[in-house]
């Protein structure tokens, strides 16, 4: 790889070309243009949302493109939080996200561990069945899953309006199991053999050997589990019909019809703030996970 005369980290444009003023000028101006488009296109709508949340309704309607609000109406945020009960829907969203995350972690770590490390006789069949669900689009599950929630086997007590209706199906993510299994597959076998010789049972192997080595992949799976739960709309709309149980995503469309525009925009801002802050903190896990998604997701 280092045979290349220009060094290993060159791209499309060679370093020699980069030194030519014309090339440098073209590339730099193209990139500045791209940066401009990204700032206006990707960041712009969110900045607008921040500005509009602090403006009055009249101002948003009359002059949506003004750069700065006439006065900063922080009260919009407070009104959204308490008057339209955004605090309740926010708490619901957090509870749904945490429960879904726990369920996905439980299934993905134990499942991936059994299929990759313990490998009992039935591992092949189970693995095949898990992989097969990657081919089944979500739409197929919608109706029968809804009826299963109405009358779950064993329990026979409708889970409608219970968070379990969201938590339990969230665990059935083949994507997570496949990611965990592939990660465990790449751990050195010798470590497990050595721990077994030292008398560690399957639980110890998972808890004290496999999981501590899996922190990066657990981070990626966690980020996506929480984000997916935060974004989900159709499923919670179907199974959480009681407004007091609904997460933000389900509640916001109804609020739009009953709330003043300025307060509603403040509600949109509050609903977006947490995912964006999380993204800014865990950027690396987000971006790496997306690259991963391109390789496994079905």
């Amino acid at each position: 790889m280092t045979t290349s005369t220009d060094g290993p980290d060159r791209g499309l444009v060679s370093p020699r070309d980069w030194r030519r003023p014309s090339v440098r000028l073209t590339m730099t101006s193209l990139q500045v243009m791209l940066l401009g488009i990204l700032v206006i296109g990707a960041l712009g709508p969110l900045l607008w949302l921040v500005k509009a949340s602090l403006s009055t309704t009249q101002e948003v309607l009359r002059d949506p493109l003004s750069l700065w609000p006439d006065g900063t109406h922080w009260s919009n945020l407070g009104d959204a939080w308490s008057n339209i009960h955004l605090d309740l829907y926010f708490r619901n969203t957090v509870e749904i996200a945490i429960g879904s995350w726990l369920m996905q972690m439980l299934v993905a770590t134990t499942g991936g561990f059994v299929l990759s490390v313990l490998r009992p006789r039935y591992a092949g069949v189970v693995n095949g069945l898990v992989m097969a669900t990657l081919f089944v689009p979500a739409v197929v599950l919608l109706i029968p899953l809804y009826l299963t929630i109405l009358d779950p086997p064993l329990v026979h007590h409708s889970l409608i309006n219970s968070f379990w209706a969201v938590w339990l199906p969230a665990g059935a993510s083949a994507f997570n199991v496949v990611v965990m299994k592939r990660f465990f597959d790449n751990l050195p076998r010798e470590v497990f053999e050595a721990a077994r010789v030292d008398g560690a049972g399957p639980f110890r192997l998972l808890w004290s050997v496999a999981l501590p080595m899996s922190r990066p992949v657990l981070g990626v799976v966690s980020v996506f589990a929480v984000l997916a739960a935060w974004k989900d709309f159709l499923w919670p709309l179907l199974v959480l019909q009681n407004p007091d149980k609904q997460p933000l995503s389900v509640r916001l469309p109804t609020l739009q019809q009953t709330t003043q525009l300025d307060v509603f925009l403040a509600a949109l801002l509050l609903s977006t703030a947490l995912p964006i802050v999380a993204f800014l903190i865990f950027q690396r896990a987000f971006l790496r996970g997306t690259g991963l998604g391109g390789a496994v997701k079905g």
């Binding site: 197929v140 109706i143 639980f203 709309f233 993204f279």
Partner: protein, 314 residues
């Protein structure tokens, strides 16, 4: 510690059927306990519903009376529904528009971004930002932007050029493109990141070789970069088609399928069969249409899966 020995042991695991006692002693029971979450959750919330959807498509179910066997009646109902053609046309139109808007732009952006030498992180963070915004928030925000009055945000921008005002969401012809533009804004970021990752794996030697042959910038893009990316380009193509074939959120929240069914998609039709007011409760028809859509998508998924397998090893 004789590691070579243990590896060899692991290698030949030809086992005879053990007795229950040795099965428990050798950890079979704890293995089963560890496998239980996966088996239970997948069994009840994935495998059983999949089987059930096939059964439901040939049954009449209204949750009150026991289900009755109706053969292919549900499929006939769906196929004779005049709205099915509309929904398929709209879904295909959405997918085509999404490809036109959303396929070349992320690629061009990623190629340009991969040449950024300083602060590349800012570019990718900005590009990915809309993906993090909850889809419902994005749609409701864009609904405000699409305001049909001349003081709506987009109409004001068009007004600078003495165009409009346009009734973006209220007009049969404008509605679908408006939905697609929002959807592209919301999703393009992850495609950019996938391309960026793929671009780092293009060997610099290939560019060197092309330059020795006197290739210019465009020749390099056309004859080195794109051929090297063809695997990932194909994968994102299939992923996007599978995604857009199941589009629901945008038409449901922006237009509710209107105006005059101009944005009624297949998934919205399924939802209407099962859950919407007067039509609702026809779970059999909904299951039948889901299966038909799934059959089409399963073919695409299989192609995708084969592609990722063969390309990930090269």
């Amino acid at each position: 510690m004789d590691s070579t020995n243990t590896v060899r042991h692991d290698g030949k695991q030809g086992r005879a059927r053990p007795s229950p006692v040795t099965w428990v002693r050798s950890g079979g029971l704890s293995t089963l306990v560890l496998a239980a979450p996966l088996l239970l959750i997948f069994g009840v919330f994935s495998w059983y519903p999949i089987v059930r959807s096939v059964l439901m498509s040939v049954q009449h179910t209204n949750l009150v009376q026991p289900a009755t066997w109706v053969g292919l009646d549900n499929f006939r109902t769906v196929l004779s529904d005049p709205l099915l053609g509309t929904a398929i046309r709209n879904t295909v139109w959405f997918a085509v528009l999404a490809l036109v808007f959303g396929y070349p732009v992320p690629l061009a952006a990623a190629v340009l971004m991969s040449e950024v030498r300083r602060a590349r992180g800012i570019f990718s963070a900005l590009a990915y930002l809309p993906v993090v915004v909850p889809p419902v928030v994005a749609v409701l925000l864009w609904k405000v932007f699409y305001d049909a009055s001349d003081t709506g945000l987009f109409n004001e921008v068009f007004g600078w050029f003495h165009l409009g005002p346009y009734p973006f969401l209220q007009d049969e012809h404008w509605a679908m493109p408006s939905l697609v533009v929002e959807s592209t804004w919301a999703n393009a970021g992850s495609t950019v990141i996938i391309y960026l990752a793929a671009l780092t794996s293009v060997s610099p030697d290939l560019y060197d070789a092309a330059e020795v042959d006197g290739a210019g910038l465009w020749t390099k893009v056309w004859h080195v970069t794109l051929p090297q990316l063809r695997g990932v380009l194909f994968i994102t193509l299939i992923l996007q088609v599978i995604g857009t074939a199941q589009v629901f959120l945008e038409p449901y929240l922006f237009t509710g399928g209107g105006p005059d069914n101009a944005t009624l998609t297949v998934l919205l039709l399924i939802y209407n069969y099962a859950f919407a007011g007067s039509l609702g409760g026809d779970y059999g028809a909904a299951a039948a249409l889901s299966l038909m859509l799934a059959a089409v998508l399963a073919v695409l998924s299989a192609v995708y899966f084969r592609a990722t397998r063969s390309w990930s090893t090269t």
